[in-house]
Symmetry: D2
Subunit: 253 residues, 4 copies
């Protein structure tokens, strides 16, 4: 069984900051948000975690392998280099959505995202090393079949984007509802989902659902490991096997 450690990352009092004393230049907000995400990707990634940008002022990380001190260091590094601070809340559960739920409750208990006095919260209980196994994380890496030929080289970029986005939205809601899974668009035509152990049939059903609902054809490689990096790289290799063999689903043992 999986044991997913999720860290919710929330910028403190960000909404008000973006318009105080006056609305700030949009290109600067975009630059800062993106660079903060990129830094967090490296900071968590350096310890084999993954970070998903979600809404940029709220981000979701898969952090098996990082303890409280690791989280505190990341928080301190951001506070030293950015005009904003981040709050972090960690929780663990076999089901990804449940871990995120607990992480969110813990943070909401500490105060509103727009509470001007709530800064740099650090809450929650990471997984103890002694309790960690190679089956803790199951990660599925989906992509759209022949996205370049079907969309990028054929439609204008916005209509391509609309198609890819519909595929993502349908998959995201299905995986959440059917399997308590969290799925994230990561650019191009790629979606990465954090799951519990699922069978080939269950992945085929998800793919069929998306194809029937919105006409987008997906394939998926699935890996597992003790960290997001291990499970995620395992999934990338499984996806390469899909491409090579012409299969829709490849699950690495």
């Amino acid at each position: 069984m999986t044991n997913t450690q999720i860290t919710l990352i929330q910028l403190d009092n960000y909404g008000p900051w973006t318009v105080t004393p006056e609305p700030r230049r949009e290109v600067d907000l975009q630059t800062m948000q993106s660079r903060l995400y990129a830094d967090l990707s490296q900071l968590f990634g350096n310890r084999d975690g993954y970070v998903f940008f979600s809404r940029f002022d709220n981000m979701i990380a898969v952090t098996n392998g990082l303890d409280t001190d690791d989280h505190a260091l990341i928080q301190e590094s951001v506070a030293n280099r950015y005009p904003v601070t981040i709050s972090l809340s960690v929780a663990v559960d076999p089901a990804p959505i449940a871990a995120l739920g607990t992480a969110t409750d813990q943070l909401q208990d500490a105060g509103s995202a727009q509470d001007k006095d709530r800064r740099s919260i650090l809450r929650g209980d990471p997984l103890a090393d002694a309790d960690r196994t190679n089956d803790d994380l199951h990660i599925a890496h989906f992509d759209v079949n022949d996205a370049t030929g079907q969309y990028t080289d054929e439609l204008n970029e916005f209509d391509t984007f609309i198609n890819i986005e519909q595929g993502y939205a349908e998959l995201m809601r299905y995986m959440r509802r059917a399997h308590d899974s969290l799925s994230f668009f990561v650019g191009g035509d790629n979606v990465i989902a954090v799951c519990t152990p699922l069978t080939t049939e269950e992945y085929e059903d998800a793919i069929t659902h998306v194809r029937e609902a919105v006409g987008v054809a997906l394939k998926v490689g699935v890996g597992h490991g003790a960290t997001a990096q291990d499970a995620g790289m395992d999934a990338k290799h499984a996806l390469e096997a899909c491409r090579h063999d012409g299969r829709d689903v490849v699950i690495n043992d």
Copy 2:
């Protein structure tokens, strides 16, 4: 009438690069994609343009005020600092979606996104200075009413994200279909749309549609100008007027 200059930005041969010779670490791809976007935001933004991240390997910029030399400089700067190159295609049209369509056709004519020999294309005809006016761009800045109270402080982050994403998807498709507009999620609960001149009723209809279709309540500030920065900042101030006055739609003259 508007006259929208759109630049399509496409990373050359990116899909193959991400898996050659082996799949690359996801956290590094995320870092590179995000930082490239942030740099483009500054490079175009330094000349009053706006860039939207879209799918990260394909991005859309609003570039009224930038000429061919400006585009060439941006392309050169990226080639000097990143392990990938970008192709740029510029087009102008009163309707945003039509400008993007022409920009896309121009680029597709030059070769596939995954053509290993297609690098650093620069195509298209920017708007001549003599033809530019203060009405060239109309930008609408939407946000979700009381997102913090309704979602961020109440639901787990993924369910908040699902709600915001549904609101964005519905708005994006409606604005595309009804008004040839391009709409982009820019983080938090914000969507920026590039439009033709629309009336208060037309914006109210869009808001009503989204509320009835998916239950997400939006408000919008609308501005105009000769550049994305001018129109966009004008829209931000109009949105502040919405917040202050409790209105759903404010269009600055």
Copy 3:
């Protein structure tokens, strides 16, 4: 005759910030300082200026072609994205050192670098477009003869660094004293100097002085132009001519 526009860039109240409330992690200070310098290099560079890192909390830029609004935009962009603000002071003079002197006086008049109330000063008079010529800037690009063979592949890196540093220091002081010039180490074995118009003999004398004083052998390419980018790229090409022809001094007409 040259007409050098210099902008002094100074971080506001930085010393106290680095130790308040406690000393901050050195790696974070280094990261922030370096990235701020990199951003300024792009922001000024996007308008054909050059920036030299100098002491990182005080930097020197060559800004022919940038007006007051351009400076204000750069200042605003930094304030939106960093936990510190910058003050900018602009001055123009045929002699680079005199321009810097005036820029410094203007800023010192506005308050101390560690005055906790002095923030985001913007002072000075950029060169009017009507007064600009292709001879405004003379830039000399020096490098060490066969640095790789003589030093990098032979000595340990610190002793290589000591040698290169001695060469730089000797050149810097000589050019300042003899020619009112500003010289900056820019990495590797390269030094870029901002000069008045000098003859081949004057450059040969500088090179002879450095060789006799500290045993470091230099060559130099010299260019000119209306902007730092034009003059500096002209100098790079002249330096390539030195390498190709085996000459010590090449001055492009």
Copy 4:
């Protein structure tokens, strides 16, 4: 006794890359060099190491606590995100300069810095965990007495820079010659030196030498620890004690 682990970081074939096929824009080279340094500062710093920029194409890191796998990860991350690759060579010795000497020899044995076929070398033997102690690193953090009052608020920035640079150069050569130490300018008026255990008198002698040779007055805080972060932060606190007590030398036990 100290046991200093030094990693020499060298960009592969960088000189030729900067001028192939043509000389590249200086502002882009500066941006890339600085951001690479900033990333390395975070990557090594995330594991309590320190990185010094030195010549930017060759950098020196203090890496007690990082093993071979840690180095390989950093190398891979850079290769995934930059247009250049880095070679790393690790060595350990009680005397910092000797560790750097061994690290350099190892790298030079693998090939020239401008050997177009030498890429991503990783050599050397990090300190085994079992052999590490809290006395492994002694770090001294020097700064100039009242730099703001004496220089920054009085002289033009270049003459301030010349003074600070002379103080650094004199200190660097003295500490290298007398104590096998490596000293690095880190911005502002700060120099960080990696040392063997020295007495208060030995630090006072260094300070006296610099004051008599070039008229620059320094003070120093000294710390120690198992990692650069521990020793360096200890030194920063000792330097604060200097400021507070008006002393020239404070060595933390």
